[in-house]
C-alpha cells in the first residue's frame, strides 16, 4: 500500500510534512520532543505521554522492533509518533513485531521522513505547542487554525483517562502480560544494586495516575504486594485496604486538573501512611501539602537531566518527562523541605515532609529508558515503610 502524506501542523503556524508509515486519520495533541538515543518503546508506552504527539530527535527509530518486556504499559499512550526514519524491519530476535505494526494495531498515526531536528529546535525556542497530525486534510492554513482552536492540556484531567478503570493486584494478570523485568539466564538481575526484598512482604497501595510498569516491577521485586487503585478512588477506600505504604505513580497532564486526587493524597498522608510519589505523584503531593504547580515553558524531557541530591551532594543523571512543576516558593518551608534541585534551571525535583513520613521526586527513578542511577529511592521508600510498620507494631 502506498504510504500517505501526513502533515503535522502547529498552532503557531509551523507545518512539517512527512509520510504516514502507520495509521491514518487525524489526531490532536501537544507536540513534544525527546532527545534520548534509545528507548523508543518505553517512551511510546509511557502513560505520561498521553495526549502528546511525540517527536524523537534521533533520526533512526524502530530498528529493534517492539518487545513485550520493554513496554511501560499495555499499549502506546502517545497520541502520535513523529520520527526521521522508521525501520522497515525489526532487527531483534526477541521482538514481538515491528514498530509500524504496533502503532497500526493500536490505531496510532506514525509519521516519518520529517526533519526531527528542525521540530526539536522549533519547540525548544517556542515551547510545547498544540498541534494536529492529519493524513486527510492537505490544507495547511486550515490545519493550523484547527490546531490553534483545539483544547490544550492545561486543566484537563488526562490522568483519569489513562488510570486503570478498576482496582487490581500486582503481581497479577497485568504483571503476567508484562514479564517481570529482565533476568539474565544465569540469574543475574539487570538491576544489581537493589537492596534485598523486604521480609515479610509489604502491602502497598498504589494510586494509578498512569503508572509505568517498571515502577510496579521494581516495587514487586523489592518485596511489595500492590493494590493498584484508579485515580478517582477516595481516601477511605485506600485506607480500608490497610496499606503499609502508599505510592503515587507518574501520570500525564496538569495536576491542577485532579484536585480531587490531591485531596485523597492529603487524607492518606495525614493518616500517617508512609508515602512516596514520582513525577505526577510528586506534583499531587505538592498540592496535597498546600503548594501550587505551574507549567514549564519547555518541560523536562530526556534521559540526561542533572539533579542535585541536597542530602548527599551527589549529582544524579535522571530520566524525566514532565511539563508541570511544583512551585518551590508555594510550600511552607517550616513543614516541607526541598530535597532535590534541577541543575539546569533550578526547579524543584524532590521534597520531603518534616513530620509525616513522606517524600517524592519529580524525575523517574525507575528510569526506563534512562540511567539506573536512582533506583535506590524505591529501596529507601520500602525501608521507611518497614521502619514505620515495626514502630507501629511496637506502639
Amino acid at each position: 500500500m502506498p504510504k500517505r502524506k501526513a502533515i503535522v501542523a502547529l498552532e503557531d503556524g509551523a507545518c512539517f510534512e512527512g509520510r504516514a508509515f502507520a495509521g491514518h486519520g487525524e489526531v490532536f495533541g501537544e507536540l513534544v520532543f525527546n532527545t534520548s538515543m534509545t528507548g523508543y518503546q518505553e517512551i511510546l508506552t509511557d502513560p505520561s505521554y498521553h495526549g502528546q504527539v511525540v517527536t524523537l530527535t534521533y533520526p533512526l527509530i524502530g530498528n529493534y522492533g517492539v518487545s513485550g518486556e520493554d513496554l511501560e504499559s499495555a499499549r502506546p499512550r502517545a497520541a502520535a509518533l513523529v520520527v526521521g526514519e522508521c525501520s522497515r524491519v525489526a532487527s531483534n530476535r526477541r521482538a514481538d513485531g515491528d514498530l509500524a505494526g504496533f502503532l497500526e494495531a493500536h490505531g496510532l498515526i506514525g509519521v516519518d521522513r520529517v526533519d526531527t531536528r528542525a521540530i526539536t529546535l522549533h519547540i525548544r525556542s517556542r515551547g510545547a505547542l498544540k498541534c494536529i497530525v492529519s493524513t486527510e486534510d492537505g490544507d495547511r492554513a486550515r490545519l493550523v487554525a484547527r490546531a490553534a482552536a483545539a483544547p490544550g492540556l492545561v486543566g484537563r484531567d488526562l490522568a483519569r483517562e489513562v488510570s486503570t478503570p478498576e482496582p487490581y493486584r500486582w503481581p497479577g494478570p497485568h504483571a503476567a502480560r508484562a514479564p517481570l523485568g529482565r533476568i539474565d539466564e544465569d540469574g543475574t538481575e539487570a538491576y544489581h544494586d537493589l537492596p534485598a526484598a523486604a521480609e515479610p512482604r509489604l502491602r502497598i497501595a498504589v494510586l494509578d495516575c498512569g503508572a509505568k510498569f517498571n515502577q510496579l516491577r521494581l516495587l514487586g521485586r523489592l518485596g511489595a504486594d500492590l493494590d493498584v487503585f484508579p485515580i478517582a478512588t477516595p481516601a477511605e477506600a485506600i485506607l480500608a485496604a490497610r496499606p503499609d505504604g502508599f505510592f503515587i505513580s507518574n501520570g500525564p497532564g496538569d495536576p491542577e486538573g485532579c484536585r480531587y486526587a490531591a485531596e485523597a493524597v492529603r487524607a492518606v498522608v495525614e493518616a500517617g501512611v508512609p508515602t512516596f510519589g514520582i513525577c505526577f505523584g510528586h506534583q499531587l503531593l505538592g498540592l496535597a501539602l498546600g503548594g501550587r504547580t505551574f507549567k514549564l515553558k519547555f518541560g523536562h524531557r530526556g534521559a540526561n537531566q542533572p539533579v542535585l541530591d541536597r542530602a548527599t551532594g551527589r549529582v544524579e543523571i535522571t530520566s524525566q518527562n514532565h511539563g508541570f512543576c511544583v512551585d518551590l516558593e508555594s510550600l511552607d518551608a517550616g513543614a516541607v523541605e526541598t530535597t532535590h534541585v534541577n541543575l539546569n534551571d533550578g526547579t524543584s525535583e524532590g521534597l520531603r515532609h518534616l513530620r509525616h513520613p513522606c517524600f517524592s521526586v519529580q524525575y523517574h527513578p525507575e528510569a526506563a529508558p534512562g540511567p539506573h542511577d536512582s533506583t535506590h529511592l524505591f529501596g529507601r521508600f520500602l525501608e521507611m515503610v518497614t521502619r514505620e510498620r515495626s514502630a507501629g507494631v511496637r506502639a
Partner: protein, 1068 residues
C-alpha cells in the same frame, strides 16, 4: 578535587612504532595527555621510539627521549630525569606493560615514582585470565561459560554440556598455542589431546563459543570520586569472531534495545569501579540476540583504538579528560557544553557515525584475505551522516581504494549467487561488498543473516541502497529524474559513483545536483570538556547548521585519509605542523580528514575541522563555503595529490608547488627531459603499455630491470626483474595497464648505495638540510630500508654533488615547499632515481635528527615567505640518527618476510647515539627483537652472496660469536679461514636449523634468499626466526651494520639524552 600538588614531573610512555593493532591513535591520545598536563602546570618527560609522531616533537614535552621502549632504557631515563609520577594508560598496551614491568622490578619504588591514573595490581587482575574470571564472578558479571578439563574425556563431557562449537584454551602455554575452536567431538579429541600435552599443568579450559553474538563496546570514564559516565556505545556490525579492529562499527548502537544498553552499562560500571581506573576504560561485551544473554569479553583499562574512535564520534576527548582526571581533577570540575559539568554527561546527538577498516592484503601476495580473531587492518576511516545509509556510503568513499560506492567492486557483480554465498560464509575484507552484490541478485536478508551474523536491520538498509541503485541504473546514459537524484543524494550516493553508474561525466552530475539546489550542509559535533568548540560533518539532509565562514585570511589543509602501508602517520605529522605554522602566522586553518586515529582530526589542531571524506565532491563544497586563499595538498601524501588536478580545474588555488610540477616529476618523459637539460644522469629507462613495448624497452636498457606501475606510493606492484620470462610474467599480471597508466621500466643498479635528500624551496632558491644514506642497497624500498643521518659511507665530493643536484632540481622545477630526492650511487656516479616535490616519509625524521622543523618551514614558504627570510644554515652535529622500518610479518605467518621494492613496513623507529654503531643497535633494539651482544650467529646465504658475506662473518668471528652455517656457506667461510660449524637445512636430516632456532641455540640469523637459483623454498628459515623471535637479517649490508652496532654497544652505549639536549648541543 583540584589538581594534585604532590607531583610535579610526569613521565609518559608512548606506544612505539606503528604496528597492526597499535597505530597512530596513541599519538593522538599521548599528545592530548601532554597538552592537558602541561596546561595544568606539570613538567612532562616523554619516552617513545617512534619519530613520526607529534608526541615526540620537541615542543610537545619538556624532555623528549626517542629511546627503545624497554624496561632498561626507561629506567635510565627515570634515573636521569627523576619524575615523581608515571601516567601509564595512554601509550597503548606497550606503555601499560612497561609500567607493570617497571613496577614489578622495583624500579618505580626505587626512584619513588607514583603511578597515576591506574592501579597496576588491579590491572593485573584484569589481564590474567584466571584472576579476571574470579574478579568478574565476585562482581556477578557473567563471562562465557567454561570449565577446566584434565583429560580428553572430561573435555568431551564439558563440551557436550556447553554445546558445540567450543573454544579450547590450554593453561600456561606460550601465546595460546595448542588451542582453538572445535566444531565436533572428533576435532575436540585431537585439539584437547594436543592442548593437554602442551599445557605445563595438563589443563585445558573448555569454553562456550560466542561466535556470531553481537559484539558491543562501551567507553567508560571514571574519576577519583567514583563518578562514572559512558562516553559512547559502539555496535560492531560484524559479529563476534571478527576482531573489533577489523569490524565495521557504528556509534551510537543502532539495533540494540535501550534496556540492553542499560544492562551493559550496569555491568561496565561495576567492572570499572572494581578495577579502579581513573580515566578511560573500554569494556567489550558479547550479547546473544536469541537468548538475550550478555558476557563480558575483555576490558582495556587505557586509551585505545576504540577510545580514539569514541572521542571523535562524540566530541568527548577521552585522553585529554583522562589525563586531567589522573592529575586529580574530577568530572564535576570540567565544563560541558550542554550545561553543567561532565558529571552530567550522557551520549547525545542526532547523527550516525560509521567506522570502516582499511586492509593491506594486496601488499602480501601469499596472505589469505580472511578475518578472524587476530587484527589485520592497517588503518580505518570514520564517517558521519544524518542517517546510517549516508554515513555508510561516506565511509566507503573515504577508504580511498578506488571505490566510491558499494557496488561493482572487483568482479563480484559477475559472480553467480551461489559463489557469492559461498564466499560469504567466512568473513573477509570484502564481505560487505559481496553482501551488496548478493542482495542485488536477490539474496534473502534472513539467509544472509544466518550466514554472516550481520543483523537484518543493517542488511535491510543495504538492500534499500541496492534497490535505489537499480532504479538509478535504469537511466544509464543520461541523468536521472530530479526526484531520484534527490533521493540518491540523501542516501549518500556520491557524484562520482552516480557518474559511474550512469556512465556520464561527474561534472554533469554535479552541475545537475547544484542546479536542483542539492548542496552539502554542515552540522556541528560539539566538544565536551572544553569551552565552546566544535567540528563539522556534512549531510545532504536538513540544511546547513554551521556558522558562516570568517573573513580572516585562511588556508585549507587536506589530510591523508586512512593509514595504509606507504602512507602513514608521517603525513599526518606534516598536516598537523602545517596547521600549527599557519596559526602562528595568524592564518585561520581549515582541516579536512576522515581518519579518527590522528592528531590532525583533534578538535584544536586547526581552527575549523571538517570530518569528511577526501573526495572532489566533499572537498570542493567545503572550499566553496569557506573561500580560503588556497589549499595545501602536498602534505597529506598521495590522497590529496590525487585530487589536486581536479580541484585545480574546479577553481581551487593550490598553494606551494603547482600540481603540474608534481605531475611532471611523476611523468618519466617530461622529467627525463628536464634532467638531461640539467646534465643530471638517470638510470636508463622506458615505459610500456603492452608486453611488446616492455620487451622492446628491456632490450634497449638491459637486465636487470626495476618495473612498476605509475602513480603509486609505497612501491606498490614494484619488482626487480632479471630475465625476459620474469618480465612477461609481470606484464601478464599487471592490472589496469593503459597508455594513460603505463608500466615504468628502469635499469636496476645492482648493489648501488641508495640515498635520499630532502629540500626546502621557495620557487627560486633551495636549501638541503640533510642527506640520508640507506643501509640496504638499491632494490629495497626506501620505506623499508634502514637509513642513517649523517651518511657514513659516501665520499664528501659525492655528498656535495647530491646537494648541488638537489638544489638545482628544486630550482628548476620551481618547487615551493618540500621536496624529497632519491639517488643511487653506482660505480662512482650519482644517479637520480626519483623526485617527489611534496612531503615525504622522511620529514619528521630529518626534523628530529637535524633539529629543523621542516613542515613548519615549508608551510611558511608556501604562504609566501622567502628562504632568505628564514636564515637557514646547515648545523653541524656529532650524533647519529638511524631509522629502522618495522614490518608486520609476524601478523602474516604465511608470507615470506623478505624486503623488496614494494614497501611493506607499517612503521618506523629512530635510534640516536654518538656513533653509527650505537644508533644502529638502538634502532634495531627499538624495532625488536634486539641484536644479541654475544652467542651464536647462523649464516646461510645464496650462492651469489657468498663472496660478499665474508666481511660480516669475519666481524662476527672477531666479536667472539660462534658461527653456524649451512653446507655451502660453511665450506666457503672455512675456505676464508673463518671458523664455522655446519648445520642441516630442513630437508637434510635432524637436528636441523629449525631445531636450533626452537632450542634457542641461535641468537641471530643472517639469511639471504636463494630466490630463483634454488628449487627449494627457503622461506621457512625466516618464518621460523620470526616465530621464535630470533633477530634475522636478510641483506649483506645490514649484516655488516649489525656487527658494527654490536661492537659499538659492547664498548658502552653512552648516556640517554633528550631530543632537546641533542638539539641544544648542535653548532648554532
Amino acid at each position: 578535587m583540584p589538581r594534585r600538588d604532590d607531583i610535579h614531573k610526569v613521565l609518559i610512555i608512548g606506544s612505539g612504532p606503528i604496528v597492526i593493532g597499535q597505530a597512530c591513535e596513541f599519538d593522538y591520545s599521548g599528545t592530548q595527555a601532554c597538552k592537558a598536563l602541561r596546561e595544568l602546570g606539570y613538567e612532562i618527560v616523554l619516552v617513545n621510539s617512534n619519530p613520526a609522531t607529534i608526541m615526540t616533537d620537541p615542543a610537545t614535552a619538556d624532555a623528549t627521549y626517542v629511546e627503545p621502549l624497554n624496561a632498561a632504557a626507561i629506567e635510565a631515563v627515570i634515573a636521569r630525569e627523576r619524575p615523581d609520577a608515571l601516567l601509564p594508560n595512554l601509550g597503548g598496551q606497550t606503555g601499560l606493560n612497561l609500567a607493570s614491568e617497571l613496577a614489578k622490578a622495583g624500579v618505580l619504588e626505587k626512584y619513588n615514582v607514583k603511578v597515576i591514573g591506574v592501579n597496576l595490581d588491579a590491572i593485573r587482575r584484569g589481564e590474567d585470565r584466571i584472576s579476571f574470571k574470579e574478579t568478574m564472578n565476585a562482581l556477578d558479571v557473567p563471562l562465557p561459560r567454561s570449565a577446566p578439563a584434565y583429560s580428553v574425556e572430561e573435555a568431551e563431557r564439558i563440551a557436550a554440556d556447553l554445546g558445540y562449537p567450543v573454544v579450547l584454551r590450554p593453561a600456561y602455554t606460550l601465546g595460546g598455542t595448542g588451542g582453538g575452536l572445535v566444531y565436533n567431538v572428533e576435532e575436540l579429541r585431537t585439539v584437547a589431546g594436543r592442548g593437554l600435552a602442551a599445557s605445563l599443568v595438563g589443563q585445558v579450559l573448555v569454553e562456550e563459543s560466542v561466535l556470531g553474538w553481537e559484539e558491543l563496546e562501551l567507553e567508560i570514564v571514571r574519576d577519583a570520586k567514583n563518578r562514572m559516565i559512558t562516553v559512547c556505545f559502539i555496535e560492531n556490525v560484524d559479529a563476534m569472531g571478527v576482531h573489533t579492529g577489523d569490524s565495521f562499527c557504528t556509534a551510537p548502537m543502532l539495533t540494540v534495545p535501550g534496556s540492553v544498553q542499560q544492562r551493559l552499562q550496569d555491568y561496565a560500571f561495576r567492572i570499572v569501579e572494581a578495577i579502579g581506573v581513573i580515566g578511560g576504560t573500554n569494556v567489550q561485551f558479547a550479547h546473544d540476540p536469541v537468548t538475550d544473554r550478555i558476557c563480558v569479553i575483555e576490558i582495556n583499562p587505557r586509551t585505545s583504538r576504540s577510545s580514539a574512535l569514541a572521542s571523535k564520534a562524540t566530541g568527548f576527548p577521552i585522553a585529554l579528560i583522562s589525563a586531567k582526571l589522573a592529575a586529580g581533577l574530577t568530572l564535576d570540575e570540567i565544563p560541558y557544553w550542554r550545561g553543567g559539568t561532565l558529571a552530567d554527561y550522557t551520549p547525545s546527538g542526532d547523527y550516525v557515525v560509521v567506522k570502516f577498516a582499511r586492509w593491506a592484503f594486496e601488499k602480501f601476495a601469499d596472505a589469505q584475505d580472511r578475518l578472524g580473531t587476530q587484527m589485520r587492518a592497517v588503518g580505518e576511516v570514520m564517517s558521519v551522516g544524518r542517517t546510517y545509509k549516508e554515513a555508510f556510503q561516506k565511509a566507503i568513499r573515504s577508504l580511498e581504494n578506488g571505490r566510491h560506492g558499494l557496488g561493482f567492486a572487483r568482479d563480484f557483480h559477475r559472480l553467480p549467487l551461489a559463489e557469492l554465498m559461498e564466499r560469504l560464509s567466512e568473513p573477509s575484507s570484502e564481505r560487505h561488498f559481496l553482501l551488496y552484490e548478493a542482495l542485488r541478485q536477490g539474496a534473502d536478508v534472513e539467509d544472509l543473516y544466518r550466514r554472516t551474523a550481520v543483523k537484518p536491520w543493517f542488511l535491510q538498509q543495504m538492500k534499500e541502497l541496492v534497490e535505489l541503485e537499480e532504479r538509478i541504473l535504469a537511466h544509464r546514459g543520461e541523468l536521472p529524474p530530479d526526484d531520484l537524484l534527490r533521493e540518491a543524494k540523501r542516501d549518500g550516493f556520491s557524484d562520482r559513483y552516480l557518474a559511474q553508474l550512469l556512465d556520464v561525466p561527474e561534472g554533469d552530475v554535479r552541475a545537475r545536483r547544484l542546479g536542483l539546489g542539492l548542496r552539502h550542509g554542515w552540522h556541528p559535533i560539539r566538544v565536551s570538556g572544553v569551552e565552546d568548540a566544535a567540528y563539522y560533518y556534512a549531510s545532504y539532509h536538513d540544511g546547513d547548521a554551521s556558522p558562516p565562514a570568517s573573513r580572516r585570511r585562511k588556508v585549507m589543509v587536506l589530510g591523508g585519509g586512512p593509514n595504509r602501508i606507504g602512507q602513514g602517520i608521517e603525513f599526518d605529522y606534516c598536516c598537523v605542523h602545517a596547521a600549527y605554522a599557519l596559526r602562528d602566522l595568524g592564518v585561520e586553518t581549515i582541516m579536512v580528514n576522515c581518519n579518527p586515529e590522528t592528531v590532525s582530526t583533534d578538535y584544536d589542531t586547526s581552527d575549523r575541522l571538517y570530518f569528511e571524506p577526501l573526495t572532489v565532491e566533499d572537498v570542493l563544497a567545503i572550499y566553496e563555503k569557506e573561500q580560503p586563499e588556497g589549499a595545501v595538498v602536498q602534505f597529506g601524501g598521495q590522497t590529496p595529490l590525487n585530487l589536486a588536478r581536479e580541484l585545480e580545474a574546479a577553481g581551487v588555488r593550490v598553494l606551494g608547488t603547482p600540481p603540474d610540477t608534481i605531475d611532471l616529476a611523476e611523468d618519466r618523459d617530461r622529467f627525463r627531459v628536464r634532467m638531461e637539460r640539467l646534465g643530471i644522469p638517470m638510470p636508463a629507462s622506458g615505459m610500456a603499455a603492452s608486453e611488446a613495448e616492455a620487451l622492446d624497452a628491456a632490450a634497449r636498457i638491459g637486465y636487470p630491470l626495476m618495473v612498476r606501475p605509475s602513480y603509486v606510493l609505497g612501491g606498490r606492484g614494484m619488482r626487480v626483474v632479471y630475465t625476459e620470462d620474469e618480465l612477461r610474467a609481470y606484464m601478464a599480471q599487471a592490472a589496469d595497464v593503459s597508455p594513460d597508466r603505463p608500466i615504468l621500466i628502469d635499469k636496476f643498479l645492482e648493489r648501488a648505495i641508495e640515498c635520499e635528500a630532502d629540500a626546502l624551496a621557495d620557487g627560486a632558491d633551495a636549501f638541503v638540510p640533510a642527506i640520508m644514506e640507506h643501509i640496504e642497497e638499491a632494490g629495497i624500498h626506501s620505506g623499508d630500508s634502514a637509513c642513517v643521518i649523517p651518511p657514513i659511507g659516501i665520499p664528501p665530493e659525492q655528498l656535495r654533488r647530491i646537494e648541488e643536484m638537489t638544489g638545482a632540481i628544486a630550482r628548476d622545477l620551481g618547487v615551493v615547499g618540500l621536496m624529497n630526492m632519491q639517488y643511487a650511487i653506482h660505480e662512482g656516479t650519482v644517479y637520480v632515481l626519483e623526485a617527489n616535490p611534496r612531503a615525504s616519509r622522511t620529514v619528521p625524521l630529518v626534523s628530529k635528527v637535524c633539529g629543523l622543523p621542516m613542515a613548519r618551514l615549508a608551510t611558511e614558504l608556501m604562504s609566501g615567505r622567502r628562504l632568505a627570510d628564514l636564515d637557514l644554515r646547515r648545523r653541524a652535529f656529532r650524533h647519529f640518527g638511524v631509522k629502522e622500518a618495522v614490518l608486520p610479518f609476524a601478523m602474516f605467518p604465511e608470507v615470506d618476510p623478505l624486503l623488496g621494492p614494494e614497501m611493506r613496513s607499517t612503521g618506523e623507529v629512530l635510534g640516536l647515539g654518538d656513533s653509527f654503531g650505537v644508533a644502529y643497535f638502538k634502532a634495531e633494539e627499538a624495532a625488536t627483537p634486539a641484536l644479541p651482544l654475544e652467542g651464536t650467529v647462523l649464516i646461510t646465504v645464496a650462492r651469489r652472496d657468498r663472496p660478499a658475506i665474508r666481511e660480516a662473518a669475519a666481524l662476527f668471528h672477531d666479536l667472539g660469536f660462534r658461527i653456524q652455517a649451512t653446507e655451502g656457506t660453511c665450506a666457503f667461510l672455512r675456505s676464508c679461514d673463518i671458523p664455522a660449524e655446519p648445520v642441516h637445512k630442513l630437508h637434510e636430516g635432524r637436528p636441523h636449523l629449525v631445531d636450533a632456532l626452537m632450542n634457542r641455540e641461535v641468537q641471530l640469523v643472517i639469511n639471504t634468499p636463494s630466490g630463483k637459483e634454488s628449487a627449494r623454498d627457503d622461506s621457512y628459515i625466516r618464518k621460523n626466526a620470526i616465530r621464535y623471535r630470533v633477530p634475522y637479517i636478510t641483506t649483506l649490508a645490514a649484516a655488516v651494520a649489525a656487527a658494527r652496532g654490536i661492537a659499538a654497544v659492547r664498548n658502552g652505549r653512552g648516556e640517554a639524552r633528550s631530543l632537546q639536549e641533542y638539539h641544544r648541543a648542535m653548532d648554532t
